[in-house]
């Protein structure tokens, strides 16, 4: 086995329902703010989604690059370009001295998206082509957010475009990590994006995954809590600069932390959800966590914080809790867990990368972000979920977990760089 290179995070960009930058989002998060609210329009009256985390006051006109290109971008791509722009600036990379071909990009996106006007227009006119914009295909393809980011920032290196639904963002960061670890590249920008597109909302609307709207919309999503009923959909984009350690040191980069393990495994989710099936899923998530702990050869009692999937599904939160207990034993009760989805909503393809950013910031600042809306404990979910208020705590190692909607498990382990 060749010697594995070390990989660090040196920049972050985040556009989320909590703010238009990583810093604003983080500050709102640790202040206990929720980004979930009523949404006025889903683009179609038949889509029964009334609450969501939307990105507010986002102005695409401020995006870098040619104005003509901005017009070609769908909202996912606009959010992605904004997040990648922030991440590059945050990392302080001198693009004059960085070879464009050395810069890789890995990005997750949802899938082909239609806006209802286009689709219905097309239907009403019985497929008359004149109702469509000539560049229409280039506004619906899922890889376009990656292409626009590459064009806006002249990133000509390897590219990885993922479409593995809610695991996409984590897989993008993980794949970039592996590519650098094994020497395929020195520097990558990795992340994911999703918007509140009607076609995504429609695909989630009757899925049983969405939280029932409460009178106070911000209280609707209650991860790990007894009354949890699902998540609120959110939108946003997250981008992370992932860099080889010596490369980062050579340019005196500010290092957020080191990524020291990544694993992604698959688990079948199919009814019935009987005890045997639940046990299999707990074992699957536990195996995924064990895999990353093994990669980093880290003492598990040093893991002080877990940014959980916590998507507020009745079963998923319980499975995640059981898996954490199985892996960490007594230490499970000493470590801090939180689900930032209560505040941001489920950012879908951006969620994994956004949560990796929050995890890195938690480690850097020594602050554990809270799980909002936690009032009534669920006896089956009995860990310390950092209820409602953030907490100061030294974090020697942190884990970001993703339990994808179709059975993907992914884990990213981070630690500070001494």
């Amino acid at each position: 086995m060749t010697h594995k290179r070390r990989v660090v995070i040196t920049g972050a960009g985040l556009v989320s329902p909590l703010g238009l930058t990583a810093r604003d989002s983080w500050n709102a998060l640790i202040a206990g703010t929720s980004g979930i609210n009523h949404i006025s329009s889903t683009g179609s009256p038949s889509i029964p989604v009334s609450i969501a985390g939307s990105v507010r006051q986002f102005n695409p006109a401020r995006l870098p690059g040619k104005k003509k290109n901005i017009k070609l971008m769908n909202r996912d791509a606009q959010l992605a370009v904004a997040a990648t722009d922030e991440a590059l600036a945050d990392a302080g990379i001198n693009r004059e001295t960085t070879e464009p071909a050395a810069f890789g990009i890995a990005f997750g996106a949802f899938g082909i998206q239609y806006t209802m006007d286009e689709a219905f227009g097309f239907l009403r006119k019985e497929g008359e082509i004149s109702t469509l914009n000539p560049i229409w295909p280039l506004t619906i393809l899922p890889n376009m957010s990656l292409c626009h980011s590459a064009i806006a920032h002249s990133l000509q290196g390897p590219n990885i475009a993922l479409c593995s639904l809610t695991a996409s963002g984590t897989q993008a960061v993980g794949e970039a990590f592996k590519a650098i670890q094994y020497g395929d590249a020195d520097i990558f920008i990795a992340g994911g994006c999703s918007s509140l597109n009607p076609s995504y909302l429609l695909s989630l609307a009757d899925s049983g995954l969405l939280a029932a709207a409460e009178a106070d919309p911000s209280a609707s999503c209650r991860p790990f809590e007894n009354r949890r009923s699902g998540f609120a959909v959110g939108e946003g984009a997250a981008a992370i600069i992932v860099e080889e350690l010596d490369h980062a040191r050579a340019r005196n980069a500010v290092i957020y932390g080191e990524i020291c393990g990544y694993a992604c495994t698959g688990e079948e989710i199919s009814p019935p959800a009987d005890e045997r099936a639940i046990e299999a899923r707990v074992a699957g998530v536990a195996a995924c966590i064990e895999e990353v702990l093994g990669q980093a050869a880290i003492d598990r009692s040093r893991v002080d914080y877990i940014n959980a999937e916590g998507n507020a599904a009745v079963l998923s939160d319980r499975i995640e809790t059981d898996a954490i207990k199985r892996v960490f034993g007594d230490h499970a009760r000493r470590l801090s867990v939180s689900s930032t989805k209560a505040a941001t909503g489920h950012l879908l393809c951006a969620s994994g990368a956004a949560e990796i950013i929050f995890t890195a910031l938690a480690m850097q600042h020594g602050i554990v972000p809270p799980t909002l809306n936690y009032e009534q404990p669920d006896p089956r979910c009995d860990l310390d979920y950092t209820p409602n208020r953030s907490r100061r705590r030294e974090i020697r190692a942190a884990l970001s977990l993703t339990l994808g909607l179709s059975g993907e498990n992914a884990a990213v382990l981070m630690r500070p760089v001494a």
Binding site: M1, T2, S46, I47, P48, I105, A109, G111, I112, A119, F120, F122, L123, G127, E128, I129, L132, N133, P134, W136, P137, L138, L141, P142, N143, M144, L146, C147, H148, A150, I151, S154, L155, Q156, G157, P158, N159, I160, A161, L162, C163, S164, A167, K178, Y182, D184, L202, S203, A205, D206, C264, T265, G266, E267, E268, S270, A287, S406, G407, E408
Partner: protein
């Protein structure tokens, strides 16, 4: 120690045949799979031709009936190709370590079919049920299928394959339009090299011959308008080329870590030795006139394989038959290969198969492996009038007997994403 990755099984469903052998035989006869569109009424469309899979019998597909409503046409092709590949590999899934068995696909199981889309939307009952959260309506499998049609996404195919074959290792979906499956294969290669898996089912599928896609790609000016003579519409590198022809199908490879393959006495078809990718970072629709991006993708794949350009025996080109692609690909090949560009045979399977979009890269890699096995290079058909800008050896019109030990296969996508793969004859050393 470096983990080597070999190909032990392949399966294909294409416009030239419903199996790997049929596809290869048609390719050897230099047949075109292109004809008038039958999947929808294209009479009012400016483009009326496509490369459709013709004799695919869904009822014979070995797939649990209860799963079929969840699978679209592309996924069904993919399941058929995967079953063929697993059989071809002689792989007994009951005895493998399924935590080291993963799926990496370039998928596009999206709803682009107007009939599915409109059926789903026009069903007022569906809207009623959605609004009232009353799901009893969907207990009926047909209605479920209608709803599912608008909920499918690229990842659906990977999910279905992972359930069908009980893959508990890494499962992921790449979506980079026309480079999707090449990217997915590159990812599968890395998964095995990095010991995340011992066996990967990889490749892709696509079936987007629909009102939306024909309209969409047509609007972009990317499709051939040669409605008068469908079989001669796809003419990569020929001076009179006027665009690509949409195709559909699936190609699946079984990739395996070498010692794993040997331990079970598997027949080794070829070794996959190189992968490279790059972004043009130029424009959404055009490739850079200087071939930038494509050259880097080829260079990094060759570097990964440890081959110099003059060690490449054959290039399976992306060769879409669009004016711009074929010119800039030629230019990029010259930049990478220098003088040896003129001595290296190049051909475009798309001249016969059409453009299988997300599954183009995997089918072309499979045909490259067949080329190594048979020592015959498939032709670029419809090559009649040389283009001064495309002056390489495109193996015109007739397949060519040629000793081929190594192939470079290119896939380039809208938006400027490039991927190149290298396969070589397997030597036991």
């Amino acid at each position: 120690m470096e983990r080597r990755v070999v190909i032990t099984g392949m399966g294909a469903v294409t416009p030239l045949g419903e199996t790997l052998d049929q596809t290869w035989e048609s390719l050897m006869r230099s047949q075109s799979g292109i004809d008038y569109i039958s999947l929808f009424d294209a009479s009012a469309f400016p483009v009326k031709i496509a490369a459709e899979v013709k004799n695919f019998d869904e009822s014979k597909l070995e797939m649990p009936e209860e799963m079929k409503p969840f699978a679209g046409r592309a996924t069904k092709f993919c399941v058929a190709a995967a079953l063929e590949a697993i059989r071809h590999a002689g792989l007994n899934l009951d005895v493998i370590d399924n935590t080291m068995f993963g799926i990496s696909l370039g998928g596009n199981e999206e709803t682009t079919k107007l009939s599915e889309f409109s059926n789903a939307f026009r069903e007022e009952n569906i809207l009623y049920s959605l609004q009232n959260k009353d799901l009893s309506y969907f207990k009926d499998a047909n209605r479920l299928a209608q709803l599912w049609a608008i909920r499918r996404c690229a990842h659906t195919t990977s999910n279905i394959l992972s359930i069908l074959f009980n893959a508990r290792g890494p499962v992921s979906t790449s979506s980079t339009a026309c480079a999707s499956s090449a990217q997915a294969i590159g990812k599968a290669l890395r998964m095995i090299e990095h010991a995340d898996a011992d066996i990967m089912i990889t490749g892709g599928c696509d079936s987007i011959i629909s009102e939306f896609s024909v309209a969409g790609f047509g609007l972009l000016g990317a499709l051939s308008h040669n409605n008068g003579d469908p079989q001669r519409a796809s003419r990569p590198f020929d001076l009179r080329r006027d665009g690509f022809v949409l195709g559909e199908g699936s190609g699946i490879l079984v990739l395996e870590e070498l010692s794993h393959a040997r331990a079970r006495g598997a027949r080794i078809l070829a070794e996959i030795t190189g992968f490279g990718s790059s972004s043009n970072a130029y424009r959404l629709t055009d490739s850079p006139p200087d071939g930038r991006g494509a050259d880097q993708s080829m260079r990094s794949a060759l570097l990964d394989a440890g081959l110099s350009p003059d060690q490449v025996d054959y290039i399976n080109a992306h060769g879409t038959s669009t004016l711009i692609n074929d010119r800039s690909e030629t230019l990029a090949i010259k930049k990478v290969f220098g003088e040896s560009a003129y001595a290296t045979p190049i051909s475009a399977n798309k001249s016969m198969l059409g453009h299988l979009i997300a599954s183009a890269g995997t089918i072309e890699l499979i045909m490259s492996v067949m080329t190594i096995q048979q020592n015959i290079i498939p032709a670029t058909i419809n090559y009649e009038t040389p283009d001064p800008d495309c002056d390489l050896d495109y193996v015109p019109n007739e397949p060519r007997k040629y000793e081929v030990d190594s192939v470079l296969s290119n896939s380039f996508a809208f938006g400027g994403q490039n991927a190149s793969l290298v396969v070589e004859r397997y030597y036991d050393a």
